[in-house]
Each structure stands twice: as C-alpha cells, then as structure tokens.
C-alpha cells in the first residue's frame, strides 16, 4: 500500500506496520470465510422471505431468479419466478425502485402467473416522513394494490370512494402514495409483457437450480 518500502531503511521502520497489515489481513480473510456465506444468505432471504406473502402458494425454496429485458427501457431486470411446492408456476415478484418524497423507495411487486393481475406489493426500503409517508409500509395501504389489473395504470384518489383501478391516498402523504403508484405502474408496464412471454416459454422446469447473486 502507501507504505511499501522504497529504500532499505524503510523496512526497519515499517516492519511493524507490515506485520500488522498481514496479521489483520489474515484475520479479515478468516472472518470473511466464516461469516460470508451467512451474510449472502441474509441478503437473499430479505427478498425471498417476502415472496410467499406476495404470491399465494409460492414455495420459498423453489423460487428462482430470472432476467428479462424491459419492454419500455430495453434494459435487463431481475425478476423472481414463484413456484408452488409441486412445481407449478404460480406468480412473479418484481423488484422495483423509484424516487419517493424523501428518498428512494424499494418495492417488491407480486404478479399472478399470466401477469394479468397484481397480487400485492411490499415495501423493502423507504425513508419517508415518520408518522405520515412511512405509513406506505402498512398493510392498510399496500393491501389496496392486491387484485388490481396490471394492464391499466393505477390511479391515486385523495377523496371519495375508490372504484376499479383506483387506490386511496394516505392523509398527509399524497406525494409518497403517488410515488408508490408511479413506481408500480412504470415497472408493471415495463415488465408485464416480457414476463408473460417468459412464462409461456418455460412452463415447467423440475431441475431448476436457484441462481444466487452477490456471493
């Protein structure tokens, strides 16, 4: 590193630093080998644990990751293919992200097997205002998304009864709610068609090997 010996005299001065650096390097390597797999598993679980709550009947162990190309932006996106215990495709989970009121909001959106209906959403990460915007994570708000049609955009209403593809905004958090609806609409529009095609292509794959990421 910055203290590599350039002259003979430096070695005698810096030997302690070098020995310590080697010792710590060894210690860190040990920590990484023991804890690394566990950390990778934690990161994976964060998404995989949610999927059975979003897509009914999904078996966590059989869920696998796929990559699809967005119909709107043409970029690759990861999606999760949810399968029931006996191997039947039962739905999809799409990670989605976008700007909220305070910071980025990360969502997971559940779609049914033929990508025609939204089965639910889950807020993975958000930093909206405590007491107002952060209520987007409550069951009361996100439950409204379940059963909405995927082929037309979701509208947010602030007053009056909700009908069809409308959801009601939270009082005092209209921008956060609009943001969530925007993120859901954009992601569903982008990925609905590619997912439908992917679902038609590969109906059953008994030997599916889950692909881990970031290990």
């Amino acid at each position: 590193m910055s203290k590599a010996p350039r002259k003979g005299g430096y070695v005698s001065q810096a030997w302690l630093v070098i020995v310590l650096a080697l010792l710590y390097g060894g210690a860190l390597a040990g920590v990484q080998t023991t804890l690394g797999p566990r950390i990778a598993e934690n990161k994976k679980s964060e998404t995989y644990d949610v999927i059975p709550h979003l897509v009914e009947g999904a078996a966590r162990a059989k869920t696998t990751e796929r990559t699809v190309t967005g119909a709107v932006d043409g970029k690759p996106h990861p999606v999760y293919r949810a399968v029931t215990g006996d191997g039947t495709l039962c739905g999809w989970a799409l990670p989605a992200t976008g700007l909220g009121f305070a910071d980025r909001i990360d969502l997971l959106i559940g779609l049914c097997a033929d990508a025609s209906t939204i089965t639910g959403i889950y807020v993975l990460e958000q930093k909206e205002t405590p007491g107002l915007g952060n209520l987007i994570g409550t069951d009361e708000f996100r439950g409204q998304f379940a059963g909405k049609r995927a082929d037309e955009p979701i509208q947010v209403v602030t007053a009056g009864p909700v009908a069809g593809n409308e959801i009601r905004a939270l009082t005092g958090a209209t921008i956060s709610c609009d943001s969530v609806a925007d993120i859901v609409n954009a992601t569903v529009e982008n990925l609905r068609e590619p997912i439908r095609q992917l679902g038609a292509q590969e109906p059953l794959e008994p030997n599916d090997v889950p692909r881990g990421r970031g290990g």
């Binding site: 860190l28 990484q32 690394g36 996106h77 700007l99 009121f101 305070a102 205002t129 970031g214």
Partner: protein, 231 residues
Amino acid sequence: MDTAITLIQIALGAALINNFVLHYFVGICPFLGVSRRVDTAFGMGCAVTFVISIAALLSWVFTYFILRPAAPVPTWVWRVCGGDPRTTVDLSVLSYVMYIFVIASSVQFVELYVRKFFPYLYKSFGVFLPLITTNCAILFACLEIMKRLQDPDRLWGLHEALTLAVGGGLGFTIAIVLMAGIREELDMCDVPKPLVGAGIGLITAGILAMAFMGFTGVDKGIENAINLLLR
C-alpha cells in the same frame, strides 16, 4: 436526458435535501469547532470539497475494479492463477481499510501539491488539510459510493460518484458557512450560561436542519417538471 436528471438529483440530494451535515450528521466536529468565522469556515469547506472529490475518484476506481463483488481485476487474477471460473471473487471485506488509506494518502498528496503549485491557496486553507483525514464526511462519501457499486443491476458510473462527492462537499460548505454567519451574530447575544458554546451551536444546527427539511421532495418535483416539459 435521464442521465442529466439523475445527476441533478444526486447533486441536489447531497447538497441540500439530504445535506451531509444537517441530515446525515457527518462532519459535525469541524461544524461545531471551526465554524467561528465566515472566512475560515469557507476555507474549510473548500478544502473538504477538494479532498472529497479526489477521495471519491480514487475510491470509485478502487471499488469498481478491485473491491466490489465480482470486480474485474481480482476475477482476472483468479482465472490466471487457475481458480474455478464459476466462483466469484469478493474483496469487499478489505474496503474499509482501503478507504481509510485512500483518504489519508489523498490528504497528504493534496497538501504537498497545493503547497507546491498554489501557495496562495495553501495559505488560505492549508492549515485545515491535516484535520480532514478524520473528517467523517469523506469516508461517508466513499461508503455511499461503495453502496452503489454493490448491486450489479444499478452500478454507479464515475460521473455519478463525482457528482455525489462535489454535491456533498458543497453541502458541507453551505452548512458550515451558514453556521459561522449565525455564530458571528450569536457572539453578541446574551446566551444563558449553560448553553454557551456547543449547546447553543447544536440548537442552532437543529433549527437549520428544520429549515433544510423544507427541501424534501424538490428532487421529485424537478423530475416531474422535466418529464412534463418533455411530454
């Protein structure tokens, strides 16, 4: 166009909306310690902005090529040494040690360079340079950049990393200069005895932080406005 919007959002986010000092609380020590006079505060702000940009540049290069999961250099070395090509190499456990060395050496380098080539600048903010090594704002910028390089689906480019760094440095300068201006006035006020010094400084910072909360949502508004204009 998307890139431009993203860059504006990153810069605004770091400088105003999620101000490094008033929202993330990094760089509090100089914020409370140095901000007695506006001109010294401005000098400190410039020095931090300068070092933060250089540290961000270096840490982006290190992280992108060496430290992130499945980075090109270690993967290549692994292949050449005959390692199993299916396994990915992840050196991110070394990140923190690397960053602190990058920061310490870039402070040294900047100090030497500025003293040699810009003696005038050195006179105005050179004294702050050694202090900056332990300024958390710089390590914080490196860590933010690291976070954005962990996820292979949304990798940050160098331009985004540099925008964050310059925006964050500007945000630090804005906060520390504002604070120094208020403090110059506070010196003439009759502050209750137990509050003199850090106490009143922190309460002032709290009021400043409340004011800065007013910027929340501006980035979203700009995105919407640009999208409306383009439509």
